[in-house]
Subunit: 572 residues, 2 copies
Amino acid sequence: MQLTAEQITIFLVALTIMLLAAKFFSEIFVKLNQPAVIGEILAGIILGPTVLGMISPDIFEWLFSQNEVALSIDSLITLSVIFLLLVSGLEVDLSVIFKNGKSVTSISSLGIVFPFIIGFGVSYFFPSLMGKEQTGDHFAFSLFMGTALSISALPVIAKTLIDLNLLKTKLGLIIISSAMINDFLGWLLFSLILGLIGAGLHGINFIYTFIFTLLFVIFMLFIGRRIINILLQKVNNKLSFPGSSLSFILILGLVGASFTELIGIHAVFGAFIVGVAFGDSVHLKDETKEVLHQFITNIFAPLFFVSIGLKVNFISNFDFVLVLIVLVLAFIGKVVGCSLGAYLSGFKKNDSYAIGFGMNSRGAMEIILALLGLQFGLIKESVFIALVIMALVTSLVSAPFMNYFIKAKNKLNFINLLNKNRILFSEKNNKTGVLGELVELASKELLISKEEILKVINERENSFPTGIANHLAIPHAKINIEQPFIAVAINKNGIDFGAEDGLPAKAIILLLTPENNNELQLQLLSEIAHSFSSISNSLEIVNSNSQEEIINKIKLLSNAKASLTSASSRQL
Amino acid sequence: MQLTAEQITIFLVALTIMLLAAKFFSEIFVKLNQPAVIGEILAGIILGPTVLGMISPDIFEWLFSQNEVALSIDSLITLSVIFLLLVSGLEVDLSVIFKNGKSVTSISSLGIVFPFIIGFGVSYFFPSLMGKEQTGDHFAFSLFMGTALSISALPVIAKTLIDLNLLKTKLGLIIISSAMINDFLGWLLFSLILGLIGAGLHGINFIYTFIFTLLFVIFMLFIGRRIINILLQKVNNKLSFPGSSLSFILILGLVGASFTELIGIHAVFGAFIVGVAFGDSVHLKDETKEVLHQFITNIFAPLFFVSIGLKVNFISNFDFVLVLIVLVLAFIGKVVGCSLGAYLSGFKKNDSYAIGFGMNSRGAMEIILALLGLQFGLIKESVFIALVIMALVTSLVSAPFMNYFIKAKNKLNFINLLNKNRILFSEKNNKTGVLGELVELASKELLISKEEILKVINERENSFPTGIANHLAIPHAKINIEQPFIAVAINKNGIDFGAEDGLPAKAIILLLTPENNNELQLQLLSEIAHSFSSISNSLEIVNSNSQEEIINKIKLLSNAKASLTSASSRQL
């Protein structure tokens, strides 16, 4: 069985349109500082029965409804979700979890149990309120809704913490670790529900499914993880790099997916667990991770998120009351549960609320779960849509609420003081030239004369050169201003600022601070130096091509491991 | 239409087995210093009707012959070939071709015309000799066989030149440029043959196909190329990087593929031309290329090459006489044609032969062409197998023959003198310590006492420090030996060797040369310094984890742009 030339054409045209629409809308949302996935889902709604199917049913049918083509697209999407869960698993760092044991246990257990009980309870006792149809397994439906409310989305939580500059803080680590456990238990629960309703292969008893799942998880996390660590080192050293490590991860991911599908739970769970086992290996190199992340999150993930809109008519199945109920229950369950867990483990009130709202993001994980629930007949279209909307809303409001409780954005630090209008690309070839450019910028914005600024800067410069190391120089001075001022000049040729390592300065960062605040100056100097603490970080920043790119790179490099962040920066 | 849980399991298991077998055999062949693709094809033959289908027809049927699963795999393979041709197109650098106009025109035109006439002539006048069946279009068959003999494989040729350390030489550039044109015209010809036999969509007249193809090529190479260059810069700067540039390339690749499929020629041609248009852009960044190359050549390409063996029984359809005839004609046509072209454009006799054998590699391109020929009924199984074998044999013998004619391997240069037994990872923290280790190695191999070597080395070291720059130091001396000796110590902490840039030496390369040969010493010193000419190159070498990795990185970095080589290093 093979596609005909005409079917190949349709298959290619459909994929092209899906990717193009996904990219178009996701970039708009990224520009608006919103998660890319919202744009991708919107693209799907426009291409699907909701819009295109209404305007031109013929084109919609031609593109997405012909048997062989639809099957080909669907198989590709299946593969996409499996790969997406595999890279999500890579983000889970078990060692971080173990380190913060007590708080994490408290937050994640209450953060699961509480919303689960609410979701399960309301669904069980008031099924019609939750959009339950008359037919179908009542118990399984209630279990599913409980799980759906208790899941968290690791990637979007990581992204929010990076945006708020919190990832490296204790609060950030606690939230990330709790989210990992939540994610993990949520998927385990869901997989077992699928086993229970017999959605997998026929003829497999639920008891066996349950035992096999448990054995698989225990094996992968305790023994498989160690074996993978050893094998990965061998693969990296003995075989072609990075090609072989890429294949190794994808092959084992597929093995895990096949195995879980075989024992009656969903393939994505196996891929996820294999990802977790790999994510923990010290031999997983950034280069390998980067290729996987970039290709999967930029090609496979958009295809998947677009496909969501293709399945359902979002207007005719929209049920306002249901959406509202799901939203309210989701907020109450998660925020109360996690805040309580945090409070009981010793956090202050405001920090506890911040943790609660941080954990409230449901993101892509919820959407994948909802789609599988729909496919296996656990929920109907209107519930599916309510869950998708809930996933998006909880993710969108997470950052503003956290910010309200910890007021992170008001903190005076290097990153918050960066501003793209205060970054310039300099062509000058000497110190005087580039300092002139920076001072002119400062003069305009601070309404202080150029001469005055130059004077204090040069005084400092003459007493001791401000070249630091790794192509960085920080000409700085205290001056009569209220707020600190930072301007950046990037000079790709490099200018000698007398750094001890002999390297010419390619990033020249002008730092002006209020006169009476010695501590603030020291803090900012050290933060700036920290961002350029290795030559590779430094070169990455200096080789940027736009103001936005520079700010993003500095944010990423000073927040966390480059791999985690670059992967999360576009995901929900 | 959707896969059932059982079909998903089979789909995943089949993909797992295909990838696993491909990787297993390809790594064996890579270890034997042979192209990976041979292992991948062998894996397919073992999984296909030739071996598995004979031993256990049930398992073979279960895995690869169920309608929906087979269709899903086949669609994925179609996508794989399209992506593979897209990245092959990226390697084509039009500006290089224009620079070497005269020789390239002469070599590539004779290198196409000569084998084409031989292939077409023999097929037309002695069709049964070439395995033509009684039925089928006689003229189209002859055209196809002419094309099949005249095609060249850019990736494998680039790989051979890198192995022989010739890529940067004039000879190398001429061969690469000619191969690009050959590749290009071969695919154009083949696409037109498909148009001629009406293999594309129904109802499209060949004249229209021809005109549209011509317009498409002219548009893409003259106007589209410039538009792409401008758009790519905007995409890089304004949108998320590298995600958006990745999507941009793949989307346009799919557009090109859809378009050519629509006008009645094959999708791969459109993807290839779009690749060529992108490959020429100065805004195509290495990072983007790297992600595309790594994912596509390590995941999609193996899937495709394995699938070849799944289609045909390689034993029952093997026709020894036919294989021999195709082989002989292929060698005569290409080697004579290209050598003559080179000779006429002014090359010496031996160099002309070297060019002829260099261009003789057919590699992956031939295999893709042969498979399409089989699918469209232009050739039968036995001819397909003969072409696959011809592709492999011509690629395998290319390097030894070139080597024979130019004796490149005998040249005394840095890369040829590298030997993995002469590379050590040093933990010492001072100059004396690491020099001691290197000298001990030299002493054992050269049978000269440690003291004698240390004496001449220290003399040189004391007169002027041998730290160069970028973490490189080259302690060196002339001594009573016949052949130069090079040993490398990698010290990740770095040791001060008095380099002017102040950076500590992390690569310490001991160079001993014969006493009477001043020129050789200077040549080797400059070659070594050249390999470490930038800090990023240097760090890449120093951060390797094995002896093999160090040698490979030095080879790659001193041969060509990292992107071209890393992509080609595993391809045929």
